[in-house]
């Protein structure tokens, strides 16, 4: 039988294979995994970098935007020379240099209610690294329908939050709110905030893919960078949720 990990890979991931909970078996699971990252910006940059570095076998990265000067305070996959390039092209170059074992697929498609399912198909985990609620909801809904875990992250200023959604088991993003809030346009943010949240999302993905630890399922963590304080709020599935609740025909009268 051909080993899943080459001797080069065993050497490369030696330090994390030493982690009792990961070991060679966990590393093999990471190599066999496929992660969809929607957004190659403030959250998507650190999430993609750390998942690529950790040895996740395949990543699909989607972003319909091009690099702008005002992105560079936080979107660390991109530099000055990338201004005007598609973010996914810039990301592909950086991630390819970081880890040549990575199979990286990219797209500049705009995720919608109609195409989200097509893009989610074949992935083990979805990372929500988006910058607007409408697309987050589209992806959240698709993740529930397709049974793909959905790792939510969002930021504003020095504040960030993360929640892991295990379809059929834990509260989804839609369970938390009565409806999407109106979009506010340009949001304030400093790079250290999405850096932290994006890395938490990557950590959640690694834990889920290797089957270790305790996920942020039904646990919304909120980070206040100015106070250096984490809060954890318990959230629960809403039986009437239009994304993950019982289908109407199965509701008891």
């Amino acid at each position: 039988m051909i080993p899943i990990l080459s001797s080069d890979e065993l050497k490369r991931y030696d330090r994390q294979i030493l982690i009792h909970e990961i070991g060679v078996a966990g590393q093999e699971k990471l190599k066999k995994a496929s992660v969809l990252i929607c957004g190659a910006g403030g959250l998507g940059s650190p999430a993609a970098i750390y998942l690529a570095a950790a040895g996740v076998g395949a990543i699909t990265l989607i972003d319909y935007d091009q690099v702008a000067l005002s992105n560079l305070n936080r979107q660390i996959l991109h530099g000055e020379a990338d201004i005007g390039r598609w973010k996914v092209d810039s990301a592909k170059e950086k991630l390819g240099k970081l880890n040549s074992h990575l199979i990286l697929r990219t797209s500049t498609v705009r995720i919608t209610d109609e195409n989200a399912g097509e893009w989610a198909a074949g992935h083990d985990v979805i990372i929500d690294a988006l910058d607007n609620l409408a697309t987050r909801y589209a992806l959240n809904k698709t993740a529930q329908e397709m049974g793909v875990p959905f790792i939510h992250g969002a930021v504003n200023g020095f504040e960030g939050r993360a929640l892991t959604v295990i379809p059929g088991q834990s509260a989804c993003l839609r369970c938390l709110h009565r409806s999407a809030a109106p979009e506010t346009g340009k949001f304030p943010v400093i790079g250290v905030t999405p850096a932290l949240i994006g890395v938490i999302q990557a950590t959640e993905a690694i834990k889920y893919l290797t089957g270790i630890g305790e996920l942020l399922a039904d646990r919304l963590v909120v980070y206040d960078g100015l106070k250096a304080k984490w809060s954890e709020f318990r959230v629960k599935k809403n039986p009437e949720c239009e994304h993950c609740g019982r289908p109407p025909e199965r509701k008891t009268p």
Binding site: G39, G41, G42, L43, G44, D128, A129, L130, D131, N132, L133, R136, G153, A154, V155, N156, G157, E159, G160, R161, A171, C175, L176, H177, R178, S179, A180, A181, P182, E183, T184, F187, P188, V189, P194, L220, V222, D224, L226, S231, E232, F233, R234, V235, K236, N238, E240
Partner: protein
Amino acid sequence: MSVMVNIHKTHRQFTSGLEAVEVDGDTVGECLNTLTQRFPQLKTALFDKKNTLKNQIEIYLNMESAYPDELKKMVKPGDEIHITVMLAGG
């Protein structure tokens, strides 16, 4: 002993910078009513014209989501309410 309401950072401009305010009430709705009577500018930040909570407002009671029917949730002295807001940036 009354109920402590933790004010979100973006709303502290309406509470003279106060991060937490003690209020009285038997339900979350009564507590928020007491709060907005004391700080009237906060009312338009939390409620829409129909006096329902705005979509972006999240209410947690003793660190647990109070959604749905947040305003009807019963509270007792010593309870803690957190007002937070939905985030969308990435």
